[in-house]
Amino acid sequence: MQIHNFLRKGAVAVVIAFLLITTALLSSPSQAAPAVPTLGHSEGSSRTAPPPPRAINRPTSGSLPNAPLTSSLQMLIPNYMNNTIQGYDADTGAHVSIWASGNGLYGPLDAIYGPDGNIYASCHNGGDVLRYTNGGIFLGAFVRPGDGNLNGPFGMAFGPDGNFYVTSQNSNQVMRFNGQTGAFIDVFVTAGSGGLNYPTDLHFGPDNNLYVTSQDSNQVLQWSDRAVH
């Protein structure tokens, strides 16, 4: 398989470092607790147990991908190379559906729930973030290509403040967008801040701080001034 520049393997990667730029805030674990998973499984705090639903944004366009008429739960897997999100039976692992394809789904790498119960997919090659209902109905682009100069989106999370955060891998940044409208707000983490180099995944920790994997510096970074409340 072709080696992709966003996950370069085999390079000289020696330093094993888990570098927390600032640990001061981490010493106060009494801060706001993360959302509590309600299905008895423990995913990352930002992708389980969405906050209470807000008003659902009305779709203005949509599509009907091959979402099944089944009530069985699926494991959804974005596939970077074939531009699909595949659905598998969460119990058996059997292939159920091509959950999403087309509509500009180029190079998907991550899929998360939003606070509205919809599913958001980052398209690394399309430079956008697409939105689907839980049942796989396409609701349109949440972040459109070029919005905020987002370049190579990968990890996504809705922050405790309801805003939407996404890594811009090719520009070594983290962008912030309005969590309900998708409108660009600002560059939340500036290019290379704290040594951020090829950011991949992104989550908010139990301390409401933003954490980002910095792939080419072999770190997980956190910024003392980037807590979100």
């Binding site: 992709h4 996950l7 370069r8 393997k9 094993i16 888990f18 981490l26 309600t38 008895g40 499984h41 423990s42 995913e43 990352g44 705090s45 930002s46 992708r47 389980t48 147990a49 969405p50 209470p52 639903p53 659902i56 203005t60 599509s63 009907l64 979402a67 099944p68 008429l69 009530s71 739960l73 494991m75 959804l76 897997i77 974005p78 596939n79 970077y80 190379m81 074939n82 598998y88 969460a90 087309g102 790498l109 991550d110 899929a111 729930y113 119960g117 209902t133 839980n134 049942g135 796989g136 990890g155 995944d201 989550h203 139990p206 954490y211 994997t213 910095s214 792939q215 072999n218 997980v220």
Partner: protein
């Protein structure tokens, strides 16, 4: 840690990180950041290029193996290898971060509004996030477990009663209760918009017998309606002004189009049996038109004689005989107005070539081209250059869009943009086809 990719904070207070280059999953203390251990050892179970990881509903760890195109499962407590959960199956190609769907439970009771007695065998149908069905039991109760979280329109119906709908939101792990009190048709003053059409003759059948107006559910598609979505964001500027509905010699069966801008077109086409509802009483105006639905509408609307391959053959691998749109897709294909996708496009979505992709949303450009070809308008090329900045002369549907615009069949989304790749709503589809049918 070498080239970390996915990570997550778990409820056990630990941070789990995939280390792409060393084929491991590592654990750290979520508060101190201190390294705890190598949870999944290098390459265990064939792990090659771990990209994303998450805990599943069973408490075990699922890791996508990006360089091996499979998904591996590990004991959530010990990190021991359990199995290859998804093998290399041709569907996975550089898999990213997996997401398990979340669900809740939707339940309630259906009663007679006058007597308060539970109604047995009432049909419950949900649309929206996904389609679910149930029947009320001997106590009038229904339960839908594993309902995906999201917004639903729930409709309760029973022979002899006026159907009733409500919008509910199902959240993760929670029970959402929606009760109904149905009014007997004999005890009410029915109006055309609420009179049940084609209700079952036996109340115990559970499913509406309104087969004449319902789209056959032979497809694997969930078909959304959202009656509550009437105005904001609706692209009313898209099709042109409302035409005079010609044959409206039938009652309007749809409760969700009364205030629609394109009521006349939908009503007229419904009476001509060109368009059908998502069910007996809902047209689903805001739902997206699919290529399969559109093939049916355009063939019926323009009265093309049905033409299918001899011997029951099929032109597209994904439109077999028996599929609801088979006759129409084949007819349109034979008439040269419909076409499928090329080999690469089919393969990209896991379909075998040649494919038609009947469940894919139809775009404004595709629809416009089909209507112009079917209606047989002489092609019009503007002498003053392209009308829309996003439909230039090299665009595949350029001439068709200019022709349709010149005939007043369709407008741009604004004065300079056509948005050719945008999906079409079902109300817009009705309007554009009706305009094409009635405009010389």
């Amino acid at each position: 840690m070498s080239h970390p990719a996915g990570f997550f904070f778990a409820a056990d207070g630990k941070l789990y990180v995939t280390s792409y280059n060393t084929d491991q999953v590592l654990r750290y203390d979520a508060h101190s950041g201190q390294f705890i251990d190598v949870f999944v050892t290098g390459g265990l179970g064939g792990l090659d290029g771990p990209d994303g990881a998450t805990f599943g509903p069973d408490g075990n760890l699922y890791v996508t193996s990006a360089d091996n195109n499979d998904v591996l499962r590990y004991n959530g407590q010990t990190g021991q290898f359990i199995d290859v959960f998804v093998p290399q199956d041709g569907y996975l190609s550089y898999p990213g971060v997996p997401l398990f769907q979340l669900a809740g439970t939707l339940a309630g009771t259906v009663r007679d509004a006058n007597t308060g007695q539970p109604l047995v065998g009432a049909s419950i149908i949900t649309t929206g996030t996904t389609q679910l069905t149930a029947n009320t039991d001997s106590t009038g109760a229904y339960t839908l477990t594993s309902a995906l979280i999201g917004s639903y329109t729930v409709t309760a119906s029973l022979a002899g009663y006026i159907p009733m709908s409500a919008t509910v939101i199902v959240s993760a792990g929670n029970l959402t209760v929606q009760d109904f009190s149905l009014v007997s048709t004999s005890a009410s003053t029915p109006t055309p918009s609420t009179t049940p059409i084609g209700t079952p003759t036996e109340s115990s059948t559970g499913t509406p017998a309104s087969t004449d107006t319902a789209i056959p559910m032979a497809t694997s598609t969930s078909t959304p309606i959202n009656p509550a979505t009437n105005t904001p964001g609706l692209p009313t500027s898209t099709p042109t002004e409302q035409p005079t509905p010609s044959p409206t010699d039938c009652p309007n069966p749809f409760v969700d189009i009364q205030d629609n801008t394109f009521y006349g077109a939908i009503h007229a086409l419904s009476c001509r049996r060109v368009v059908r509802g998502l069910d007996a009483s809902h047209y689903g105006p805001s739902a997206t038109s699919t290529r399969g639905q559109f093939a049916r509408v355009v063939v019926k609307g323009f009265g093309l004689p049905i033409t299918t391959p001899s011997g029951g053959g099929q032109s597209f691998t994904d439109v077999p005989p028996g599929y609801f749109a088979y006759n129409y897709v084949e007819t349109g294909y034979a008439a040269g107005i419909l076409s499928g996708y090329d080999q690469n496009s089919c393969q990209a979505v896991g379909a075998n070539y040649p494919c038609y992709l009947p469940n894919r949303a139809i775009t404004r450009a595709e629809l416009t081209k089909l209507v112009v070809k079917t209606a047989g308008y002489p092609r019009i090329t503007p002498t003053t250059g392209a009308t829309f900045v996003d439909v230039t002369s090299t665009y595949f549907a350029y001439i068709y869009i200019e022709t349709a615009y010149a005939h007043g069949i369709i407008n741009g989304v604004d004065s300079t943009h056509f948005a050719p790749g945008r999906s079409i709503r079902r109300d817009e589809m009705a309007q554009i086809v009706f305009k094409g049918m009635t405009t010389p």
